[in-house]
């Protein structure tokens, strides 16, 4: 899952990126409003973590700019401005959650996952499909009552399939979700990953649609 972090403080931005990557997210970092405003595929991100106090403009205006352009990506405001006036303004401008710095990383992660769950329309922490269950926060997957041993990328891929079960995902969709823009991408990586995942969860669960992509069948 790709996350865009908009944070002007270089040190905090670096640390946040590191921690999110360690939690299996593909992370992009924008350090100014101008940088973030021109981000090419913000609507394909799994979430945006947005600081309000940016050096070249207000994060709130950036949020409104995105929402005006019908960007529906979940946006979590992570800011040092902690008054309720700021919170109400931020949430009413279209933010999905509002977190005040400093925040424990576990809490930030929990709030992000709550946003993903909300987007999936479920309140449960675990995503299930038949006898397959995945807990994004605990990073565990269970098949027919037994724990699955998955690599980071396999886990991310399964998470993506479960989130968008029944939908056709192109190779680009999958690459976008697995890698940050500046990461090296190779198309055959997707095929290799799908092959490995099929072996672990069962071939029949992922259908290949020639020229279109892949579909996870529940």
């Amino acid at each position: 899952m790709r996350i865009l972090v908009v944070e002007d403080d270089a040190e905090l931005g670096r640390r946040l990126t590191e921690r999110l990557r360690a939690a299996d997210f593909a992370v992009e970092l924008a350090t100014s409003r101008a940088d973030a405003e021109d981000w090419p595929d913000v609507d394909r991100m799994a979430a945006v973590i947005l600081d309000l106090g940016l050096p070249d403009g207000s994060g709130l205006d950036l949020l409104r700019h995105w929402r005006d352009r019908r960007v529906e990506t979940p946006i979590l405001i992570l800011t040092a401005r902690g008054s309720w006036q700021d919170k109400v303004e931020g949430l009413n401008a279209g933010a999905d959650d509002f977190v005040v710095k400093p925040v424990r990383f576990e809490e930030l992660l929990a709030r992000l996952n709550a946003l993903f769950r909300r987007q999936l329309g479920t309140r449960a922490a675990t995503i299930t499909a038949g006898d397959l269950a995945l807990d994004p926060l605990a990073r565990t997957a269970i098949l027919a009552g037994k724990p699955l041993r998955l690599s980071k990328q396999e886990f991310r891929l399964l998470h993506l399939f479960l989130r968008r079960a029944g939908q056709v995902l192109s190779q680009t969709d999958i690459l976008d979700d697995l890698y940050a823009l500046d990461d090296e991408r190779e198309r055959n990586t997707v095929e290799v990953l799908i092959g490995r995942l099929r072996r672990k969860i069962g071939r029949e669960r992922i259908t290949t649609l020639r020229g279109l992509g892949y579909r996870f069948d529940t």
Binding site: D9, E11, L12, R15, L16, R19, G53, A80, R81, G82, S83, W84, Q85, D86, K87, V88, G90, L91, N92, A95, D96, D97, F98, V100, K101, P102, V103, R104, F105, E107, R111, R118, R123
Partner: protein, 452 residues
């Protein structure tokens, strides 16, 4: 009864005006009565003198020795019985001749003892009378006494009548002067009334400045007050921005320290150091939040020109809460309230409402109900009820303490209610927590004197 407010300009003008009118009218009354009396007395005496001379000129001693008048006196009142106008002519050896009006009694001829006309107050047939008299020699050399008298009451009646009329007229005039005086004071002080009403609107938050045109004398005062209100508001806004900036400058480094401490905690060799750092960072964060809230509160106390509009103030907060707690239902009940403007700082009030709604949202199972009500005395009550587990009764007093958290797994700093209570204290609101039928109920009482 604003005319009777002690120490008011109105009462001061009213007393001065009343005194001025009363003194003026009394002086006019005294002078007029005195001038009129002396004038009337003088013409009365002149008239009597003329009458006694006329009597002298018309009197003759007839050949038979009787005293006769060649014709009646020109004033017919001498012919009317007991009219108060009398004359009498006497001479030794002659039968006295008296006016027809004098059907009884006689006049003392003692006043007529010299050819010069003399007068005095004497007893007449119908009471005290002003008596004029003189003597003239008759054909036989005898003294003929001419006496003419008019009842004193005639003069008194004349003067009394005048005085009564004058008093009535002057009383009317005084009333008219006082009434026009009131009208002038009222008209003159009207700009001050308008200023005071405009100031009340400003303080209640119905307007942002003193509205209206004022006379040259108080226009500078109104302008100064407007400048003061604007400066005050700007100062509050500046203080808030500065508090926000301070928060920003402190929280970002603190976020880095927290992150570093978390990383240390994850390493076996630095676990304890990391934990100490985490705890201290958390304590610092709590202090920053609490002290900043207090600083904002101190800076924003009772600003002029802004007010809380119920129930409008709650609408954006409820929308925000629905996003923040998407799995909870927030309902608003305004059935007990008409649109009201309260003289409270809207930012502070919204902060209290937000804290209480967020708190309820965290604990509610399904629903948070916000209700506004206004009782007959004009006191507004805000209740925020959730359907959560509530708080054990014994713990309620501790709920407002800094750092109290009933469930460490629920996100929060344990500061919200402490900040809400401080804000309420500063605004003069009464904040209470009770366990309701379904869950916890926070009640906010906004008394009539709140925020003033």
């Amino acid at each position: 009864m604003r005319w009777l407010v002690l120490g008011s300009l109105r009462l001061r003008f009213l007393l001065a005006l009343s005194l001025w009118v009363l003194l003026g009218i009394a002086a006019i009354w005294l002078s007029a009565v005195s001038i009129f009396s002396s004038h009337v007395e003088q013409s009365y005496h002149e008239e009597l003198e003329v009458h006694v001379r006329e009597l002298g000129a018309l009197t003759e001693i007839a050949s038979d020795g009787s005293i006769v008048l060649t014709r009646p006196l020109s004033d017919p009142r001498y012919a009317e019985p007991l009219s108060g106008f009398y004359w009498q002519v006497t001479a030794k050896g002659h039968k006295p001749l008296r006016s027809q009006s004098m059907t009884r009694g006689s006049l003392d001829e003692g006043i007529a003892h010299s050819p010069e006309i003399l007068h005095r107050l004497d007893n007449g047939p119908t009471g005290p009378a002003i008596t004029y008299g003189f003597t003239r020699k008759g054909p036989a050399g005898e003294d003929i006494h001419f006496v003419i008298a008019t009842d004193q009451r005639e003069l008194d009646r004349l003067i009394g009548g005048f005085t009564r009329d004058l008093t009535a007229w002057l009383a009317g005039l005084a009333a008219l002067l006082l009434a026009t005086g009131f009208a002038i004071i009222s008209f003159g002080l009207r700009p001050l009334d308008r200023l005071s009403q405009a100031f009340a609107r400003l303080r209640h938050g119905d307007s942002d400045e003193l509205e209206g045109q004022y006379p040259a004398e108080i226009a500078p005062l109104a302008a100064d007050l407007n400048t003061y209100a604007r400066q005050n508001e700007a100062m509050v806004a500046r203080a808030r921005v500065q508090a926000g900036n301070l928060a920003h400058s402190l929280r970002t480094p603190l976020a880095i320290i927290t992150d570093e401490a978390e990383r240390l905690t994850a390493r076996d060799d630095c676990k304890d150091t990391g934990k100490v750092l985490l705890d201290q960072a958390s304590a610092m964060e709590q202090q920053i939040e609490y002290q900043l809230a207090r600083a904002r509160l101190g800076a924003g106390r009772k600003p002029a020109g802004r007010g809380v509009v119920l129930p409008d103030v709650a609408l954006p907060i409820l929308r925000a809460m629905e996003r923040l707690h998407p799995d909870k239902r927030f309902t608003l009940d305004t059935s007990g309230l008409e649109r009201t403007v309260l003289p409270l700082d809207p930012v502070d009030f919204a902060e209290v409402l937000s804290i209480l709604l967020d708190n309820a949202g965290k604990w509610a199972r399904q629903e948070v109900r916000l209700a506004f009500a206004c009782d007959r005395a004009g006191e507004n009550t805000v209740t925020i009820a959730d359907d959560g587990p509530g708080i054990p009764e014994a713990m309620i007093p501790r709920a407002f303490d800094v750092g109290t958290r009933f469930d460490p797994d629920t996100a929060g700093s344990g500061l919200g209610l402490a900040i809400a209570r401080d804000l309420c204290d500063a605004m003069g609101l009464e904040l209470g927590l009770t366990n309701g039928e379904r869950g916890l109920v926070a009640t906010l009482r906004i008394g009539l004197g709140s925020g003033r």
